[in-house]
């Protein structure tokens, strides 16, 4: 009997799909071997940062929020900024794993696991902030509709309650989506390892064996999960944007906010994806799985969303001028030329202008430049939220109440802590679970056949 080389799909060369199924399994499982010293140093750094944040939080709980730089009328500042920042980061993951899945775009397979993990951990981080930033952290659960002896329910008209539902739904669904996608891969790992690890992975694989029945329901369910996650991801940041848009604060009160925030979220998310993947693929030696092709596509997405942002910024200013609303006009004038001009321009340059560099193929495919740009994006998007929140609050209706705020150690402490918390989980995940989706890559690599040709597609 003769074995003919399997016939490769047309996008194979771009994806460098030259390995066999066995290679894929081997390479991916290889990423789970004992990590290097560099890894441990990174992990240590992350944990250290997290502890800084934890300490700051404890001080805030002990003395009150006064330690942070709040300066009425600026009642929200760095914490909410960081909250929105992390929620935004989350979006790229779901976009790639769910939306691109529905679009059947081939380049998603190699990167989606990593981005989805990023999503889950980013949302986990974001979820902490509503608790951190409130005045009486120990009763945050009053925001949940649970039956209580006071006969009281939360106020569902409040955007903050929408947030509670949106964020918790988003966290649940994206976590389940991640776990669901992992099951077959965990099973694959289970069959490759020995001893206690075999037992652990065995439990986690939930008895997966890849029988025809399991696949039959699995692939259907995965499709529907993707179908549900798609509107969800679009809604979540819309809801977050309504925290601001549904208020009457000049500079917040804009109908453009929902699309504007979603675009920004995806933009920032992909920025973070780039920041994470570029070093990761090297560290895990999977350059042949995550290739220039992927980065090229990611950059194009970045370019698209960045341009949408550019439009949104321009439109905000146009509307402020066109509305003839003196409050809006003052706010936006001061955003660019007021005491916080530096923040305003940081946001515009980092987001609107830097993203435009990606028109050039050379820059898109050069990982170094891409990495630098991704850093700019992260900074720019954090400042976007900072500007929207702080600069709008610092000068609204009654001039007498105007004031500016300066962040303090307590603000920076929590911000650092959030990065530590996120990094901690991401690093642990990268070493414990297949960061590249084994089964989906295999799906794209045709199995060997006895007869040449005869492919079903």
């Amino acid at each position: 009997m003769t074995t003919s080389a399997p016939e490769l799909p047309d996008f194979a060369p771009k994806l460098r799909l030259t390995q066999s199924h066995a290679d894929v399994t081997r390479d991916v499982v290889a990423t789970l071997q004992t990590p290097s010293r560099g890894y441990y140093m990174l992990l240590f750094g992350a944990v250290a940062l997290f502890l800084v944040g934890l300490l700051t939080f404890l001080v805030l709980v002990k003395d009150g929020l006064g330690h942070a730089g709040y300066n009425p009328p600026v009642m929200w500042s760095v914490y909410i900024t960081t909250f929105v920042f992390w929620v935004g980061i989350g979006h790229a993951g779901t976009l790639i794993s769910a939306i691109l899945f529905l679009f059947r775009s081939p380049w998603r397979t190699a990167v989606y696991r990593a981005t989805e993990a990023m999503t889950v951990f980013a949302v986990m981080t974001a979820g902490l902030f509503p608790i951190i930033h409130i005045g009486r952290q120990w009763i945050f659960y009053w925001l949940l509709p649970y039956p209580n002896a006071r006969y009281l329910w939360p106020n569902f008209k409040s955007p903050l309650i929408w947030d509670v539902f949106a964020i918790s739904t988003y966290l649940t669904v994206s976590t389940l989506f991640l776990i669901f996608g992992l099951i077959p891969d965990v099973a694959a790992v289970r069959d490759r390892v020995k001893g206690w690890r075999k037992f652990i992975y065995g439990q986690l694989s939930l008895g997966w064996q890849g029988t025809d029945t399991q696949w039959r329901h699995y692939s259907r369910a995965y499709l529907y999960m993707a179908a549900l996650a798609t509107p969800l991801v679009l809604s979540v940041h819309s809801v977050v944007s309504w925290d601001f848009a549904s208020s009457i604060v000049p500079g917040w009160h804009g109908t453009i906010f929902a699309p504007y925030f979603v675009a920004g979220a995806i933009y920032s998310g992909i920025g973070m994806v780039l920041t994470l993947l570029i070093p990761l693929r090297k560290a895990l030696r999977i350059e042949h799985m995550i290739t220039d092709y992927h980065f090229d596509n990611l950059s194009k997405l970045t370019l698209l969303t960045g341009t949408i942002l550019f439009y949104a910024y321009a439109m905000e200013y146009f509307v402020a001028w066109y509305s003839g609303n003196t409050f809006e006009q003052t706010t936006f004038f001061r955003r660019a030329f007021g005491p916080m001009w530096w923040a305003g321009w940081t946001m515009i340059i980092c987001n609107a202008f830097v993203s435009q560099l990606l028109w050039f193929r050379k820059i898109r495919t050069n990982l170094t430049s891409l990495f630098v740009i991704s850093i700019f994006i992260n900074i720019g998007m954090w400042f976007e939220r900072y500007v929207i929140i702080v600069s709008s609050l610092s000068n609204d209706y009654v001039p007498w109440a105007w004031d500016n705020m300066n962040p303090t150690w307590a603000d920076w402490g929590i911000l650092a802590g959030s990065f530590g918390w996120f990094g901690m989980y991401f690093l642990l995940f990268a070493r414990t679970f297949p960061i590249v989706a084994i089964q989906e890559i295999k799906e794209m690599i045709p199995m060997p056949r006895r007869r040449a040709g005869g492919g079903h597609h």
Partner: protein, 198 residues
């Protein structure tokens, strides 16, 4: 094959059901328990017995069951400001002495307690009663209005049948907001927050 899968499902199912039940049956504030647990037929009680009685031990074993129960004294006689003020008013030692300058007590236990009272009076020391019912500081409960609105046995509604308590104890969880609300809902009176919280 997929036993673990099954466990997973089971877990999810149980959690789900629990959740549903939680929503289905909101736990209401516990209703008033039996008005009086240990009311004692005999008036014969020594201070030494107070430890076994419900409720905190008081510096002087003042018997509500005798004063309000046997002697049928009006609550307002001692709690003088209850229908004019948010505060019910705790009787001044002078008020007690009004009778106990003469009344010395029928039994040895009683006499001992009354002696304490007289001593306090002669030393010009007010008596520090241990508080039984109190609300958080952010709640304002106007006694005068409630007494006016709820008529003769208004007191018992919250404090239970004090006239059968040798030593006063907390019958109802009055510092639980649910206690107030359930009553306000029943009687269809205001549930405005600033009726009590300001």
């Amino acid at each position: 094959m997929t036993r673990r899968l099954a466990l997973f499902v089971g877990g999810a199912a149980v959690a789900g059901i629990a959740g549903v039940m939680a929503f289905g049956a909101p736990s209401r504030a516990q209703q008033a328990g039996p008005a009086v647990a240990d009311s004692i037929a005999s008036t014969y009680l020594a201070a030494s017995d107070t430890a076994d009685l419900r409720g905190p031990r008081q510096p002087i074993f003042f018997r509500h069951d005798l004063h309000a129960g046997q002697f049928k004294m009006q609550c307002q006689y001692c709690h003088y400001s209850v229908n004019v003020s948010p505060e019910p008013g705790i009787p001044s030692v002078e008020t007690c002495m009004g009778c106990h300058a003469i009344v010395a007590g029928s039994d040895s236990g009683g006499r001992a307690e009354i002696r304490k009272l007289r001593q306090a009076w002669s030393e010009k020391k007010p008596i520090e009663w241990v508080r039984v019912h109190f609300l958080p500081r952010h709640v304002h409960f106007p006694h005068q209005v409630h007494v006016g609105a709820m008529g003769p046995n208004a007191c018992a509604t919250c404090h239970g049948d004090v006239s059968r308590m040798p030593q006063v104890f907390k019958v109802n969880n009055v510092n639980n907001m649910g206690w107030c609300i359930s009553c306000h809902v029943e009687r269809q009176v205001t549930r405005d927050c600033t009726a009590c919280h300001y």
